[in-house]
């Protein structure tokens, strides 16, 4: 049985309250369009949608600062966008155009952006975790008051990389925020079918890492928990593990026939959908009107349209440049 939908007052002023909604709408509309473009053959390779999980990225990124490092997974369109990578550059990357944020070399799974300290876009499950330990170690050694936020899914906790990284971060008391997005399925394998211990916080606690379980469908809960965790990490209290309990409404990727879960389960989780439940709460406390909702949604859709235009107008990198960026060119 799943929990009732997120409810209760939203403790934010209008600007932040609307900002969080706008963030989720931007991710949702971007990805709905991406799925459509996939069907048209404009986007190829793998495309992993975040639809249903938007509250996690929206809440978490409103709790981090621009100086922090972010390491994400292959389901990272939302993370890149809400970190501040332009939708144009994300869409162009999915198109494979050289105007993309990785020059078309990465695609959907490998979005990168130096300006916003967005370090991928990692398609090896758990692969970002050791990397994040290294960022946090560099900050520790350089005495930088910076948090490294590392996103990963429930599937990653079965990897050795997860356990090695938890141990290293705890052993060295590194400024690392473990952001586990538990959507209950590692591709098609349910958590109960892959983990002997399904309480993921218990795994973190076994390494002496402070752990907290958060309703990942509630953008307010996500932001508040992430703010508190980031504050502790920044204060030098060592790593913190957050388990955001969330749910993916769409298939794992565009090749997934979803044989492993009941449609009824998906429908039940949709009653906890992060956008409509949050909108309803805002409306209930007179922080949002239907007109305002529609205006925010229209803005998101306009942004998506501009991004598609940008990607369509983008250019293919000349094949003559194929071997560039394998190694760093010598300084002139």
């Amino acid at each position: 049985m799943i929990q009732p939908p997120p409810s209760g007052p939203v403790p934010y002023a209008r600007e932040l309250a609307h900002g969080l909604l706008a963030d989720m709408l931007r991710v949702r509309r971007l990805e709905e369009k991406a799925a459509e473009l996939y069907g048209e053959g404009k986007i190829r390779g793998f495309l992993h949608l975040y639809i249903g999980e938007e509250a996690v990225a929206a809440g978490a990124f409103r709790a981090l600062t621009t100086g922090d490092n972010v390491v994400a997974t292959y389901r990272e369109h939302g993370h890149a966008l809400l970190r501040g990578v332009s939708m144009n550059a994300i869409m162009a990357e999915m198109y494979g155009k050289q105007e993309g944020c990785s020059r078309g070399r990465g695609g959907s799974m490998h979005l990168f952006d130096a300006r916003t300290r967005f370090y991928g876009g990692n398609a090896i499950v758990g692969g970002g975790l050791p990397l994040a330990v290294g960022f946090a170690l560099a900050d520790h050694l350089q005495k930088a008051a910076r948090v490294t936020a590392c996103f990963f899914g429930d599937g990653a906790v079965a990897e050795g990389a997860f356990h090695e990284s938890m141990n290293l971060a705890a052993l060295w008391r590194l400024p690392l925020l473990f952001c586990c997005e538990n959507n209950l399925y590692a591709m098609g394998t349910a958590l109960v079918r892959s983990e002997s211990q399904t309480d993921l916080s218990a795994k973190a606690a076994s390494y002496g890492v402070a752990a907290k379980r958060v309703d990942g469908m509630d953008v307010v809960a996500v932001r508040e928990a992430t703010l508190a965790a980031a504050k502790a990490v920044r204060a030098g209290e060592g790593p913190v593990f957050l388990e955001y309990q969330t749910y993916r409404f769409r298939a794992h990727s565009m090749f997934d026939p979803e044989l492993y879960r009941d449609k009824a389960e998906v429908e039940e989780w949709k009653t906890r959908g992060p956008i409509h439940t949050y909108s309803a709460r805002l409306k209930a406390q007179d922080l949002l009107t239907e007109e305002e909702f529609l205006a925010l949604d229209r803005e998101a859709q306009d942004e998506v349209r501009r991004a598609v235009d940008f990607a369509e107008a983008g250019t293919w990198e000349p094949v003559a440049d194929l071997a560039r960026d394998v190694t760093t060119p010598a300084a002139p």
Partner: protein, 327 residues
């Protein structure tokens, strides 16, 4: 001039790097308190402290990946992996992240990481501590692979490796740590080229790492038989210095490649292919190779010896390509 060991030369290089650049730190299993598995880092903990001479738990995947992250985060890490066999636990981070990151980020991020690891056989350590898998790494675009085979290179290669903006792996053959030699007045900082170790007219013996000494011994023996062998130390396994090997073969018209890796899919195979591509019409005989026998390394001394390239095998191969009858 006093002689120093390969181990001491590497330690001098580490100390110099730590002194010259505060971003440099050494991380790995037992590099600190223990003093390094092969005693390379002995004394450095006392000199530089535990933050910069950082003992890591047995988690190769974790701490190699952490080295990548630290390099991206502004440091200049040197990660020591105890042996090349153990480095397979970190292969994912090295191949899928360190080597690929610059390219898949569209050129946004370089990974200035140096990984050192011991490689090779000869100490009866059997099938999980003895292999020579350098060519696996030399296969991967985005990595520079170095094999210091001399005391000079043990001293000289680390600093330029740290100046490389991309990941560099340094393979230290475990049999070399006790080797002693005098350091030249000027130490080469070249990490791009092979080196002619011995000039000769009759055959090019091309090798690297732990087989260099055996190959030079073979060349000396061949000289007594009237075969004048040239010896080339590849030094850099990726990117391979094709020009030096081709020029040598154009002089000698014959070549034998000596490689401690297994024969199938070996670095020797790549060198032979390049000679065929670049000097086919210069050849007076098919190129030969001496590699390890295709067995997991056995423990028993006589079997281990039989599995590895040895001086008599190199001599015999050189005689054959020179058209000499076997004595």
């Amino acid at each position: 001039m006093t002689k120093i060991s390969y181990r001491e030369a590497m330690r001098l290089a580490l100390r110099e790097a730590m002194q010259r650049d505060s971003r440099v730190f050494l991380m790995g299993e037992d590099v600190g308190r223990y003093g390094g598995t092969y005693a390379v880092s002995k004394g450095l903990l006392e000199e530089f402290g535990p933050e910069r001479i950082r003992d890591a738990p047995l988690s190769e995947l974790g701490f190699v990946g952490a080295g990548i992250g630290a390099a991206l985060g502004g440091m200049r890490p040197i990660v020591e992996v105890m042996t090349i066999n153990f480095s397979l636990l970190a292969l994912d981070q090295i191949v899928n992240t360190a080597a690929a990151l610059r390219h898949m980020s569209g050129g946004q991020f370089s990974v200035p990481l140096v990984i050192r690891m011991a490689t090779g056989a000869g100490r009866q350590l059997a099938a999980q501590h003895s292999h020579s898998l350098e060519c696996w790494y030399a296969h991967v675009p985005g990595i520079r692979a170095l094999a210091p085979a001399t005391v000079e290179d043990a001293r000289g290669m680390l600093w330029p490796a740290l100046q490389d903006p991309d990941p560099v792996i340094i393979f230290e053959h475990a049999q070399l740590y006790n080797m002693e030699a005098e350091l030249p007045a000027t130490i080469s900082a070249d990490i791009s080229h092979a080196r002619l170790m011995r000039q000769g007219r009759d055959v090019s013996l091309i090798t690297y790492g732990g087989c260099l000494g055996k190959t030079l011994d073979a060349a000396a023996q061949l000289a007594e038989e009237g075969i004048d062998a040239e010896v080339i130390d590849l030094r850099v396994l990726r990117p391979l210095d094709t020009d030096t090997m081709i020029e040598s073969v154009k002089r000698t018209h014959r070549a034998v490649v000596i490689d401690e890796g297994w024969r199938s899919g070996s670095l020797a195979a790549e060198v032979m292919a390049r000679i065929m591509e670049g000097a086919f019409y210069e050849l007076d005989a098919p190129v030969a190779r001496v590699c390890s026998e295709e067995v997991p390394m056995p423990y028993a001394k006589h079997l281990e010896d039989a599995a590895l390239p040895q001086v008599p095998k190199i001599v015999a191969a050189a005689r054959t390509v020179c058209g000499r009858a076997q004595s």
